[in-house]
Amino acid sequence: MPSQWCPNPRVFPDSGRFCVPLWLSDITCFERRLRVGVYWAIAVRSFRRFSTYRIATASGAFTNTVFGFILCGIYLTLWHERPGLGGYDTADALTFVWLQQGLLMPVGIWGATTTGELGERVRSGEIAVDLYRPTHLLLWWLSVDLGRAMFQLLVRGGAPLLVGALVFDLKFPSTPQAWLGVAAGVFLAILVSFGIRYLVALSGFWITDTRGMEQLALVLSTFFSGMILPLVVFPGAIGAIARATPWAATMQVPIDIWLGRNPGGTGSALLFQLGWIVVLLLGAQLVTSVATRKVVIQGG
């Protein structure tokens, strides 16, 4: 057997004399050697899978572009009336619009096909099939989601931004370090968003009808990510709270990294995202263990 799986046989011998309870053994069960190869292979297949939906991709990118123009009209009016609103100048506001349209699908602000399918599998009980695989549920779906996000970032992210840049005078990062910060910020934004979507999908283990949960997640995500208005325009306590939520880390923060407008600089913005990732992914792993135990012990 090339890689070992816990419980470590020396610590938890199979004799039954020294065994930890099942629920604990599953939570403490990690691969000793993470097999990166399989998760990479999964992400690559997921990327390829999304690349087969050509017409959907093209029409989606077109829709993003149309909405970009509509929002530019609104934002131009708003920043004409209130110049310097939220510390943004007009170029910042317009760049915000096109980045927002470009990030909408890759980050999965309104949900994504992958985590949507996960929720469906939980509802139908088909999730049991996933437990037959010698892979971790969380890592499997994370790989699937990253493959999707990378494809959508390249195609759905790039196209609207290109059109926007041709029509308007947009801001772009100027140094290689700034581009690196943007790349890191977008990647972390996808992870934060995945953490939230994964938890919503797994709520189906406890709630029979998860539509209410999904609606709530949609509303929260739309507002707190900065989809309606950049979070910088909200004053006082509301603004402070909005900018501290995990949804802020999915869109407002990476856009601010692009614009170079983070109050504490790029480093603190990335740390803020990382903090939420740790919380969400630890929560996700805990929920996965408990949900698996629920299936295994209670029978679904």
Binding site: M1, P2, S3, W5, P7, D14, C19, L22, S25, C29, R35, G37, V38, W40, A41, I42, R45, R48, R49, T52, Y53, E126, A128, V129, L131, Y132, R133, P134, T135, V295, V296, I297, Q298, G299
Partner: protein, 315 residues
Amino acid sequence: MPVIELADVSRAFTVTSRSGLRRTRREVRAVDGMTFSVEPGEVMGYIGPNGAGKSTTIKMLTGILVPSGGSIRVAGVDPSRHRLKLARRIGVVFGQRTTLWWDLPLKDSFAVLQKMYDVPLARHRENLATFVELLDLRDLLDVPVRQLSLGQRMRGDIAAALLHDPEIVYLDEPTIGLDVISKARLREFLAQVNAERRTTIILTTHDLDDIEALCTRVMVIDHGHQIFDGTLDGLKSSQSAPRTLVVDLAASLPAIEVAGATVVKVDGPRQHLTFPTSTSAAPLLAQIAANYPLVDLSVSEPTIESVITQLYNSA
């Protein structure tokens, strides 16, 4: 040494039903006191009516369900405690579900499996070549799974479940919805895999032809209890399902009278008689030939369907 061992295994579920404001909890035993073992290389048919406890047993054997009582060992380990470890040594096929990547060519699914099960590349290529040959998959490797017919997809799923040389394969209705030719081809393939690789196969099915073609052993369960465990011939002779004798007479006659057999149907000059499996047909024929104008005749054995129906009813 048995590859699968169950000792007094049971599984209960709590069912909550609500009538008005009152909530009642009730315990349902899906599997009760199951004890059996399977030797490496056996092909066991696992049959029973819907809700008999078949999938509950399979889930416990694969470790995704913990038994409420008794003990299970599969390939030397406790399945629920070592689910991930065991997952590398077993293969599972659900006839009505697919584990293949729906929108991608079949070969992509196989490539992921090689990584997933850490199959050495040379071994993977060898296995793939064998299965492509035996299951006639050559022209399908580049076709997206969603474009495959049911029979083609099923062949893909079976190959996917066997690529990592599992010791045990669980097949849940693998031939459901397939045409006669696809079924025959699949059975032939499974028989060959079992013979050449000594793969233990556990087959749940409602298609009794699968059992006749493949299984060296049959287990029948109902209401969570084993009601039969043995060979197919043993199953047939365990029940006193009657044999049928069809005689063609020279003319249409009223129901004939034969000691030891009863007429169940008169159809012009043709009459259908039944007689117990335990009695010989020869004396009956002598009687009929002596007393009636016999033209032609045929004797048929009880069908496996009738045997099993009788078994369910008597349990």
